[in-house]
Point group: C2
């Protein structure tokens, strides 16, 4: 029994049309009737039905985000990205609709519900996979979207995206380690299925090559982006390669896990083994010792993505915006002192 325009119309004696126009501020309704109508609306506590309005206007003032379920949950990436998104959306008077699914058919189903089902005006897609079906779908139905990240290395990316140049970032981290005298540098990569995994791997190889260091398969492991996964994977790496003097975790959480693994071995982070991460989350700075990392400001990424998406919704764009941002190497105690 919420109050509708019809109720106000009945009580005021005017038509639904006039009530609607009075409330919307059109100037073809007299001052007198407008104030009557406003008074009644106020008295009845009228609240326009947003769903009806959306149906009529064919727009929702809502952006959508579909997050991976569970296993990535304690990854700070989405938390922070998400904060940037909802805060920026609110600035533009947009709400944010969220769902979580496992990767796979359920995920596509959610995208169809949000985009095809007209629940949102635009979508932000994050964590791209190689040949990502979500992107294909959104392109096919011409629904506005922006992507955090690109397609995998070598695949074309003909859509709006914003991404940090993690290849260069990791390369700089490797160079930093090399400059400190390290030559046996291990790396914990993200899941191979993730598009950005390749860029980081390429950065690792690029850094080694520049330094004239031979790439060794055995120094590479894949982790699951979690703290616990970092502990586990670093353990494996250290057991298999006692000669390692440095480890790169491809996100800060895994790097923090790696630090713990090093300490568990009775070794000193920064003395015996240098550790570096990627992301620049707050916990990295607060760790003991503080973590050297490649910082990609995620909150700001969320802001930029949202601004871009909303702009894209407002005026269908002429050219597709693609922005590649430079991350910043932040050296802290976890990489220790130059070794000679």
């Amino acid at each position: 029994m919420p109050v509708t325009l019809k109720d106000i119309a009945a009580k005021s004696g005017f038509s639904v049309t006039t009530v609607s126009r009075a409330l919307a501020g059109y100037n073809d309704v007299s001052q007198n009737t407008r104030s009557q109508i406003l008074a009644i609306a106020d008295e009845l506590g009228y609240q326009p039905n947003q769903v009806a309005r959306q149906l009529q206007k064919q727009s929702t003032n809502t952006v959508g985000l579909i997050m991976p379920a569970r296993q990535d949950f304690h990854d700070d990436f989405f938390s922070v990205l998400f904060k940037g998104i909802i805060y920026t959306a609110a600035q533009h008077n947009f709400d944010v609709l969220i769902s979580t699914t496992q990767h796979g058919e359920a995920e596509m189903e959610a995208y169809r519900r949000f985009a095809g089902g007209n629940r949102v005006d635009g979508l932000i897609v994050a964590r791209t996979y190689r040949d990502d079906p979500r992107i294909e779908y959104l392109k096919s139905i011409k629904h506005p979207f922006v992507v955090a990240g690109r397609s995998a290395l070598g695949h074309g990316s003909d859509f709006a995206y914003i991404d940090y140049d993690s290849q260069t970032g990791i390369e700089q981290l490797v160079e930093h380690f090399v400059a400190y005298g390290h030559r046996n540098i291990g790396i914990i990569l993200p899941d191979e299925a993730l598009a950005f995994s390749e860029y980081r791997f390429a950065g690792y190889q690029g850094g080694l090559k520049k330094a004239g260091i031979l790439f060794r398969e055995s120094f590479v492991e894949y982790g699951d982006m979690t703290y616990a996964g970092g502990v586990r994977t670093a353990q494996t790496l250290l057991n298999r390669n006692p000669e390692l003097t440095a480890i790169i975790g491809c996100n800060d959480l895994m790097a923090l896990g790696a630090m713990a693994a090093v300490q568990n071995c009775g070794l000193q982070v920064g003395q015996d083994i240098a550790v570096g991460g990627f992301d620049g989350i707050p916990a990295a700075e607060r760790a003991t010792p503080p973590l050297t990392t490649v910082s990609q400001p995620i909150y700001e990424l969320g802001e930029m993505l949202t601004d871009l998406l909303i702009q894209l919704i407002a005026d269908s764009p002429t050219d597709t915006v693609q922005r590649l941002l430079q991350p910043e190497l932040i050296v802290r105690a976890s990489s220790g002192q130059p070794r000679r």
Copy 2:
């Protein structure tokens, strides 16, 4: 130009009604026509318009959450609560609609839009204030909602809520410190306007009283729930009261800040000054030294709230569920050894 029921009707030669019923699986449509219709729907890539469906069904399968903007942003509480909510909502095939606002009129506006505007079937309200206008509003329009937290001490709470008994939690923490030989225990409280601030204060006073320790106004400060705020406030507390040997931060973030402040003074956390927190966030466990804290599993709180809300939406309840959960004291190195 998304495809609608009308398009399928036109192409198949059946009426919109029949198409609708075929797709919905009613049994008053023959196997033959059903399969024709399904085929065409599939071919055209039909995706039901959720907004139209919501309008007709007068329900949205969506729960709403309105988060405080900015200053609380780097508080992990909402991030984790939020994860619990969206994950559980997804289990029930509910989406989650989010907005952020500053506390105040804009916040009420958002509640009206979500609840009165029929955008969501139910709301989760968190961070209650004393005599919270949001709760009054939702009660007045009889919109389903559940609350994380209660009204302020002494005010009646005639609505569905789930809360941790933080009074008992803080009391236990005080008792723990007392048992370790501390008598000069400072506390950093949350903003007074927050309903739970009073419970924690009461717990502090209760703990002191049990131990026969006189309450001293000067040992109390109010913080803003952030890490930086914790550093600042602990600093103030320590400068003013050099006799302090223990500090309680009323959330982990402020407690971690307090640890940093202690260390900045050249003092040892756990040796010179004991520190305890409240929440049990992951960072507390990983801190150096690990933080003694009163753990209130927030993710689980989000799960329970969402389950309760959805149940409340499904069958209007007979009695209002109110659950008071016991938090758990977790002793770690930040509280050091017994002093004698």
